[in-house]
């Protein structure tokens, strides 16, 4: 049982190492050592929390985007919202729910753009990740065959739009990863001068 627990902790900590930005690797070491001092089942919760902490650090790093890229991505969201709304307005034939779904998509993209404007870089990353997850979920659901041809909406059209969303937001995420800048902290140079090797 203890061996399984240690294995789970080791896997979680390795995931932490993959996620945490390189310049914060000392914090990963601090978490690893701390986990070694925790007895019982609590260590699993601790390690899972560490993974969450590392993900937050990654998002913080990714949110440090140049302003031009940030506004470009927000413009893309707004463009998508306008496109979806126009499509919904021009839908005169086909199953009735299709237009409503497009209106919902327009509202989601508009909301994502507003959230990104209000919450800065972090909000933008949250929005991009949520949009990617929504499009991935919709694509998986529609491709799985649960929805039949006789459904209340045009499944082929919606799945095509969702798949396009997956491609677009994956591309946006890749661009963000390429453009991120390491923030320079005034205390960075003196960080962990006595860290063990």
């Amino acid at each position: 049982m203890i061996a399984i627990r240690r294995l789970v902790v080791s896997v979680l900590m390795n995931l932490c190492a993959a996620v945490l930005p390189d310049r914060k690797s000392e914090w990963l070491h601090a978490m690893r050592v701390e986990a070694a001092h925790i007895e019982g089942r609590a260590v699993i919760g601790f390690a899972a929390g560490c993974l969450l902490a590392c993900c937050k650090e990654r998002v913080t790093l990714m949110s440090n985007l140049p302003a031009a890229a940030r506004y470009g991505i927000i413009a893309t969201m707004l463009g998508y919202a306008v496109f979806a709304l126009r499509s919904a307005m021009h839908m005169t034939v086909g199953p009735g729910l299709t237009a409503s779904i497009f209106e919902g998509v327009a509202a989601t993209y508009a909301l994502a753009a507003v959230w990104s404007m209000l919450r800065g870089g972090r909000g933008l990353i949250e929005s991009v990740l949520i949009l990617l997850a929504l499009n991935l979920g919709a694509t998986a659901w529609l491709v799985s065959g649960v929805v039949t041809e006789a459904s209340a909406f045009n499944a082929r059209l919606i799945s095509a739009v969702a798949f396009e969303g997956v491609v677009v937001w994956m591309a946006v995420l890749s661009i963000i990863l390429l453009l991120v800048r390491e923030p320079v902290s005034p205390h960075q140079s003196s960080e962990f001068p006595d860290a063990p090797g």
């Binding site: 978490m31 070694a36 601790f46 929390g49 969450l52 205390h187 063990p196």
Partner: protein
């Protein structure tokens, strides 16, 4: 509205825990137990406060049965001042809220 940095409830809990043992170096897990914050909340907070210069960190030599050096944290002089101001502000906020409720 942008959030004010390092002034969350979690930060107040952490500063209260650090203030309870003013000169002691404390480990992450001990702080988790005192503040009841999860590691997913505590470590990002420790990182932020360390980067802001409010906390100092060091590696402590292992005490048996520990095998590896542990990371320990303590407030810096600016952290002491910031923590005091934050906790005083929180106390005032709580009093203001209570006064409004009773009015």
């Amino acid at each position: 509205m942008p959030r004010r940095p390092h002034r969350s409830n979690q930060a107040a809990k952490l500063f209260a825990a650090l203030a309870a043992h003013p000169d002691a170096w404390q480990h992450g897990y001990d702080l988790m137990r005192q503040t009841r914050l999860a590691s997913g909340t505590l470590y990002p907070l420790l990182i932020r406060l360390h980067e802001a210069g409010y906390l100092e960190a060091r590696w402590e030599e292992p005490v048996m049965p520990a095998r590896a050096p542990r990371h320990a944290y303590r407030r810096t002089a600016s952290g002491v001042a910031f923590g005091r101001a934050l906790l005083a502000e929180r106390k005032m906020d709580a009093r203001h809220w209570l006064r409004e409720k009773l009015a």
